[in-house]
Symmetry: C2
């Protein structure tokens, strides 16, 4: 194991050079960024070995990717343009330098793809591998940040892309599946939902521009996240479970339509965007979502709480991932 | 244990209301801050139970104080005006809600005293209590940020306040001393160096205004931190060990002058400010340091590395705290 200072230097070397807005990057007491005429959005997201991933199943590179991608997903949900990321890395005794370099390569891969500067951070000893990532973004030009609290009765509830894939991937990884094996294209796409999640940054900015009234990323599960949106907006949200865009391969893995629906409702970590949008702006929002697509899954009405409805009118549990309990909670 | 979301709400309630520059605080995907005409400095600092503190010795409130204070110390070393803090909290199984509330109270105490808004954060399960704190500050009006890299041959090396107290406090805590016992004023002041460190924010801004050429906070130990300054500036730094301002009570605890010097050189976590300053500005810098005082401890010359000299001309080990090794190294 290198010393703290050699290690930081080795990790920084793997990262892409910071953007021009970073006047002073890693290596001083603080990073310095240029003034901005736009408001900033700042999000914090942590991942911990054994809670949000298992290092043995993911590999260090995928851990680096997931840590940065999940933090950026919060910025996507604001419609923000990403700027800088700051990484607090906790390293357990016995984790080799090679794994740390792979981790930095995973961070670098996402930083480069998403146009983010890793401008600073901190490395310390910790009992388990952990990354707390703080991301700073800027208000998009021509539109405002979108919060969770702007939904109004009458709005349509819609979600980008597909759901349940990340939960399915966790199961596959737990059963011993690994990326790059010849498990077929569908399985690889599922695994990528955990090993290489793509935050919906561009779609988020476009959705902000299209005039959605509220937005949140699907990290706890669409049922739980709809609940956060409902609570913040002071409205009731109803999801028609049969409308949920279940990811390809989830039905087969789950074994039944019902299990696939449950996985899609409460699985979490799909990092799609859930929006409330006035009906008359739905077409614009659909265009904004681009190739990911935007599926209408329910409605916003007066009242409170979240209701996930089955075709027979039964109410399903919204469930969701509670990061304090470390598992899905009913 | 409350759920993740109830817990966050309970913790946020303990914190002072965010300042006016925070447009949107905790509770959405990201916090939103107003545009700033000044450059920003962002620092990250983590503390982990068993590495940077022992919960049983510190108590949760002191952990909260130390986590925020140590992160702010990096901003002090830039001469920054503090703005917002973001806290990623890792909570071990079995830590009660009461301890978490105390922790939040400790954060709140420092946030209020130092004029910082805790604008966002994240709570997750973790194997040990840990806080990764990201602090954002602004360039001081009328002067620029001070980096580690501006020292020039001929500069005087000087340090605010006193050294060795934090290391002495760690020893006292390890021996069973607790705050508020009747151990006398000197002992309480020593304990406070760990349990209630005060970042030198105001002094840092004043020193920036007084034209110091380089600045760093003493977190790894003055020997090691002088080394960082020397490396960044491309100069050699010499410290005359007999000039070090050893904190009151350290000599008695250490048992000898030599041991007290060693504690002051390599102890770390004193959160004083180490500056390089042109001789003609030393008086201004002294005034800037205010009640803490500023002690001349050495010089900057051409060359590289750090030399800590004993009165007999011997060279002492600069040592210092390596957060990857979890103990003094060297």
């Amino acid at each position: 194991m290198k010393s703290e200072f050699d290690l930081i230097a080795a990790l920084v070397e793997r990262l892409p050079p910071p953007g021009r807005q970073v006047r002073l990057g890693s290596g001083d007491d603080a990073a310095v960024t240029e003034p901005s005429e736009r408001a900033s959005a700042t999000s914090v997201d942590s991942v911990v070995d054994g809670v949000h991933f298992r290092l043995g199943e993911f590999g260090a590179r995928a851990v680096g990717r997931k840590a940065l991608a999940s933090a950026l997903s919060d910025l996507a949900a604001m419609g923000a343009e990403p700027g800088e990321a700051y990484v607090a890395l906790g390293v357990p005794e016995g984790l080799g330098d090679e794994a740390l370099v792979e981790l930095a390569d995973g961070l670098a891969e996402v930083a480069e793809r998403e146009g983010v500067s890793v401008a600073g951070g901190d490395v310390t000893r910790a009992p388990a591998l952990s990354l707390a990532v703080t991301c700073v973004g800027h208000e998009p030009v021509g539109s405002a940040f979108v919060t969770r609290s702007g939904a109004s009765p009458g709005d349509v509830l819609a979600v980008t892309g597909s759901l349940g894939g990340a939960a399915a991937a966790l199961r596959l990884l737990g059963e011993g599946a690994r990326a790059g094996e010849s498990g077929g294209e569908v399985r690889d796409r599922l695994l990528a939902r955990q090993l290489d999640p793509h935050p919906r940054l561009e779609a988020g900015r476009a959705l902000a521009g299209a005039g959605v009234s509220a937005m949140i990323d699907v990290s706890d599960g669409v049922g739980a996240d709809a609940g956060h949106l409902a609570d913040s907006s002071g409205v009731q949200v109803q999801i028609d479970a049969w409308l949920l865009p279940v990811a390809e391969g989830v039905r087969e893995l789950a074994g039944s339509d019902e299990a696939a629906t449950a996985m899609s409702v409460s699985g979490g970590e799909d990092y799609e965007l859930l929006v409330a949008v006035p009906r008359e702006r739905l077409d614009d929002a659909r265009t904004a979502a681009g190739d990911y697509g935007l599926t209408e899954i329910g409605r916003v009405i007066e009242g409170e709480g979240t209701y996930v409805l089955a075709p027979d009118g039964r109410e399903l549990e919204p469930g969701g991932f509670d990061h304090m309990r470390g598992s899905g909670s009913g």
